[in-house]
């Protein structure tokens, strides 16, 4: 990961990976700490809930499905939920990183820019008017919705002459509220769909079918691989289009591939869990604090920190208002919005 020849000819010294050894060591240590955090989050996510199970019991029934109530809870409820959390968290973390890199906008985020809601809108329209009922059917509409929204928001936010981070966020919010209005307008006359939608719209990992997770896994995996492969190119893009071109990178192709990855990740994640806000904002931000500006490292960190943060939020949602549950989307909003506000309060909203 520290060497490679994605860009030719590569002037020596301009490569961001020529970091001093101590820094590389720190990055690896940080990644290891992140993995430990993720492991803790996974353990908690399997153990903690309305019926908390001891860690030793969890370990035991994990490998031997004994048929006891504990075993059923772990295998039927907690394990799928945790796996889903890992997938969605990683997807949103990576999608946020990609968006911020492609738009050079530190405020870009799939939720704020409306991509998640674009996916939901398409799903709702599919349910209401086309009678689509299976999650494998949803996901295609989610992709179309996510792709269309990202194109519209980038166009509306002025990706041409003078794109500013703020304009893009505002365009995203504007477009999101049109979509939201359409969704609610469709739903309010259909009570059953409305009932299902309101449980989904809040952003939750609970009660999702295992078959859904299996069906979505290939899309998530493809999106993740594409995102990770793009890391080196994103570093080139960060130097500006002209420098990137002179280094042998092709900005147009990088953007197109990045959009494909974002669409896959956001579409699949939203189809699985409903729109979840701010994860895609917080994860790359935290990653940059540790590793600086090298996107290969940021992406690797996002892959680890995204699931850790989402699972931690999910566990917090189960504990905070027990015996009821706070949906994870609400928890991430309550954690992420203050971060967003703090970022905006900083004096200069620097462009990435």
């Amino acid at each position: 990961m520290t060497t490679g020849t994605g860009l030719r000819p590569a002037p020596v010294g301009a490569q961001p990976d020529q970091a001093p050894p101590s820094r590389t060591a720190r990055r690896w240590t940080g990644l290891a700490v992140g993995l430990v955090l993720l492991a803790v989050a996974v353990a908690l996510s399997i153990a903690v809930g309305s019926r908390t199970i001891g860690l030793s019991t969890v370990w035991q029934v994990l490998w031997h499905d004994t048929g006891t109530p504990e075993s059923v809870i772990v295998h039927q409820l907690r394990l799928p939920r945790t796996v889903l959390g890992i997938g969605v968290g990683a997807a949103l973390g990576l999608a946020g990183t990609l968006m911020q890199a492609l738009t050079r906008n530190p405020l870009a985020e799939p939720g704020l820019l409306g991509v998640n809601l674009g996916a939901s809108t398409a799903v709702v329209l599919a349910i209401a008017f086309l009678g689509v009922t299976s999650p494998t059917g949803y996901v295609w509409f989610a992709f179309v919705g996510a792709a269309l929204t990202s194109v519209v928001v980038f166009a509306l936010g002025g990706s041409g002459r003078a794109p500013t981070p703020e304009r893009q966020v505002l365009a995203g919010v504007a477009f999101t509220s049109v979509l939201g209005a359409i969704v609610w307008a469709v739903l309010v006359s259909r009570r059953e769909v409305f009932d299902r939608y309101r449980h989904w719209d809040v952003g939750s990992l609970a009660d999702r079918e295992t078959s859904t997770i299996v069906a979505l896994a290939p899309f998530l995996a493809a999106g993740m691989v594409l995102a990770l492969v793009l890391g080196r190119q994103l570093n080139a893009l960060a130097l500006g289009d002209e420098s990137a071109t002179s280094m042998g990178a092709r900005p147009g192709r990088i953007r197109a591939l990045g959009m494909v990855a974002i669409t896959l990740l956001c579409g699949a994640a939203t189809a699985a869990s409903g729109p979840i806000w701010f994860l895609g904002l917080a994860v790359p931000y935290a990653a940059r604090m540790f590793v600086g500006s090298d996107h290969r490292w940021i992406l690797a960190y996002a892959l680890v920190l995204g699931p850790a943060l989402l699972l931690a939020s999910d566990v917090a949602g189960r504990v905070l208002v027990a015996p009821a549950e706070l949906p994870v989307g609400v928890v991430t909003a309550f954690v992420g919005a203050p971060l967003f506000i703090a970022l905006c309060r900083r004096r200069r909203l620097s462009v990435l």
Binding site: V178, I182, A185, F194, A333, P338
Partner: protein, 357 residues
């Protein structure tokens, strides 16, 4: 009390119309084109309202409606006009005007066509207040309106305090508003998520925004707000163009910058609060009214009065469509404005592209 005087003047080649007291103590001056557009919008809004008064399950001829309005109708038409249709028509006009004025103010203050109260979190805050009343406290009617007003004002104060850092920069205000409204949106969907289905549906109808079934209480709420605040806003609104040139320029031209901005923002918040309290957070009227009026008056900043009149006309037309355009009957007016809002944003998109390309 002396009658106002209407004069036509010429300032640097642009014809202006001046409406003022004989001594010239108070006057309202605007370009002739703006005055004509404003009059046209007013006529349109009133005409549509008149049509709304005549149409419904029991069609009433225009002459009978007019007779009822001046107090000479028969008891039957009086009941339908005064108790059923007139409150709705008045709420529509006043709410439209309040949203239009509020949107124009915020777009002027933030110098951004997307900086309307819908997006800086005000209407979301109002929605949270109303949802708490509907779903947690179990209130209805006037309590909901009060909850919305309180929610809106609290949100506005919170956003202002959070955005305050060596003064308030317009864009930071917008962004902080977006952050706060994301937080409140999450709260709103949680409130709807945990409610019973019946209550959730009725809360959702409120969230879309409707003027259906509004009575004289709502007319009074938004009517008082418009009657009190609109003159104040018009008085201070003349500085809006100057404020758009930047604080220093405005100060050099003798504009009391901080005071004008504070008064305008406060009145804008109050207008949005009252309108949302009366009819729910109807989308896009506040967003579209100012820029559309600006297009018609061919001036970059439409001025608040044309914006308000445009808002009233837009909502009046939307409400008529909501009642009569679908065979199924009455749909919430918020659905219609959202659809129009989609068209408007698409237009904005194409327009921006063309300008950039």
């Amino acid at each position: 009390m002396t009658a106002p005087v209407l004069r036509l003047t010429r300032v640097g080649g642009a014809r202006r119309i001046v409406l003022g007291s004989p001594a010239g103590r108070f006057s309202l001056r605007m370009p002739l084109r703006s005055a004509l557009v404003g009059t046209g919008l007013l006529v349109l809004a009133l005409a549509v309202s008149l049509v709304s008064l005549t149409s419904g399950d029991f069609p009433i001829p225009v002459t009978d409606v007019l007779r009822s309005l001046i107090g000479q109708g028969n008891p039957g038409t009086d009941f339908i006009v005064h108790e059923l249709r007139l409150p709705r028509v008045l709420v529509t006009l006043l709410v439209g005007a309040a949203f239009g004025a509020s949107g124009t103010i915020f777009q002027g203050l933030t110098r951004n066509p997307l900086g309307s109260p819908d997006f800086v979190g005000l209407t979301v805050g109002a929605a949270t207040g109303a949802l708490i009343v509907i779903l947690v406290l179990g209130g209805g009617g006037f309590a909901v309106a009060a909850g919305a007003v309180i929610g809106c004002l609290v949100t506005a104060v919170a956003i202002y305090l959070l955005a305050f850092r060596h003064g308030v920069q317009p864009f930071r205000l917008v962004l902080i508003g977006i952050g706060v409204s994301a937080l409140l949106e999450a709260m709103n969907s949680y409130l709807i998520y945990r409610a019973r289905l019946d209550e959730a549906v009725s809360a959702q109808v409120w969230l879309i925004g409707s003027t259906n079934g509004r009575g004289w209480t709502e007319v009074a709420l938004v009517g008082v707000a418009v009657a009190v605040l609109l003159p104040i806003v018009l008085h201070h609104g003349r500085h809006l163009d100057m404020l758009a040139l930047g604080d220093e320029t405005a100060t050099l031209h003798g504009v009391p910058v901080e005071r004008s901005r504070a008064v305008l923002a406060l009145c804008g918040v109050a207008l949005a609060a009252a309108a949302t309290g009366a009819a729910g957070p109807i989308a896009f009227v506040a967003l579209a009214a100012g820029p559309l009026a600006g297009r018609l008056t061919r001036s970059p900043h439409a001025g608040i009065l044309p914006g308000a009149l445009m808002g009233a006309a837009l909502l009046a037309v939307s409400d008529w469509l909501a009642q009569h355009a679908w065979p199924g009957g009455d749909i919430p007016v918020g659905n219609v404005t959202a659809a129009l809002g989609g068209v408007y944003l698409t237009w904005l998109l194409v327009h921006e592209r063309r300008r950039l390309g």
